[in-house]
């Protein structure tokens, strides 16, 4: 697991992050979605899942021409996304999020079943908070939670 932590990232105070951060989890795999949701819920997170990048952007109100759901964007404290997804992959989603004025400071975690150094570096350079190797374990999410808390401090 590789990570960076930008302690200068100013994140809007989005409610009770200390108690229940709101995480948007994006994955095209049904089983993985269920697993990541449970892992996060067991770590006291509120979870919204999306099955692909477009749905995620739609939820965040970042789809061109559909800026009505800005309320959702303000609620989300972290985004965790799979890398390999049909259509828009995790890297492309990361880019879109970093291009957005509302969402650019929200930590984005990329997950992948494949350990490809060039892929990992590319994502980190684009501003990903962390890269996690699948399958996810309970300890991975606990570490993630700690990181998230530290970054907001």
């Amino acid at each position: 697991m590789v990570s960076t932590c930008d302690s200068n990232s100013a994140n809007l105070n989005k409610g009770n992050v200390e108690e229940e951060p709101h995480v948007l989890a994006v994955d095209d795999n049904l089983v993985d979605r269920k697993l990541v949701e449970k892992l996060l819920k067991n770590s006291s997170c509120k979870v919204t899942t999306a099955e692909n990048g477009l749905r995620a952007l739609e939820y965040l109100g970042l789809l061109d021409g559909k800026k009505s759901s800005v309320n959702n964007a303000l609620k989300v404290n972290m985004i965790i996304t799979d890398y390999c997804m049909p259509g828009m992959n995790g890297y492309e989603l990361l880019k879109k999020i970093k291009e957005s004025s509302i969402m650019k400071d929200v930590p984005v975690v990329i997950m992948s079943s494949e350990n490809v150094p060039t892929r990992i570096n590319k994502c980190l350079e684009e501003g990903a908070q962390m890269f996690m190797l699948k399958p996810l374990k309970c300890s991975d999410v606990k570490k993630l939670r700690c990181q998230l808390m530290q970054c907001r401090g």
Partner: protein
């Protein structure tokens, strides 16, 4: 049957599944996630996995039967199956996927047919084993 007796035989059974390589440590992770708010989590995920995998393998078979086989599509299916089997700890199924994915690169239709049959057999086998174990499987480490 007394609760303790039941628990013991489930433990023994699950141990077999680990020992025989049907399941790996990732399955223990799933078991750790079940709690009072969601005691049936393992059953739910595993059921989801079987449903989803069956569909994937059916789609794969249909794609293989086409005149012009879409190998990209097949690779995508195998990738999905490999991912979900890895996430729940279905070791044999996962390894089968890793093995027969090579046939995709080689564009070997016969190999892919063979591979998908084996994978399906492992899937079915695992399903049978888990159903035979029945009920709630207590939290278990593969080394216990």
């Amino acid at each position: 049957m007394e609760v303790n007796q039941m628990q013991r035989s489930f433990l023994e059974y699950a141990n077999v599944l680990f020992r025989e390589g049907f399941l790996d440590g990732q399955f223990s992770q799933l078991q750790m996630l079940a709690d009072e708010s969601n005691p049936d989590f393992v059953v739910e995920v595993v059921s989801l996995f079987f449903e989803d995998s069956q569909k994937l393998l059916n789609d794969l078979t249909t794609t293989l039967d086409q005149q012009n086989v879409n190998f990209k599509k097949i690779d995508a299916h195998i990738h999905q199956l490999k991912g979900s089997s890895s996430s729940i700890g279905a070791q044999r199924v996962k390894n089968a996927c890793i093995a027969f994915r090579n046939f995709c690169d080689q564009q070997n239709v016969e190999g892919l047919s063979f591979g998908s049959s084996i994978t399906f057999a492992f899937l079915f086998q695992l399903e049978q084993q888990i159903v035979a174990a029945g009920g709630a499987i207590p939290i278990l480490s593969e080394f216990s």
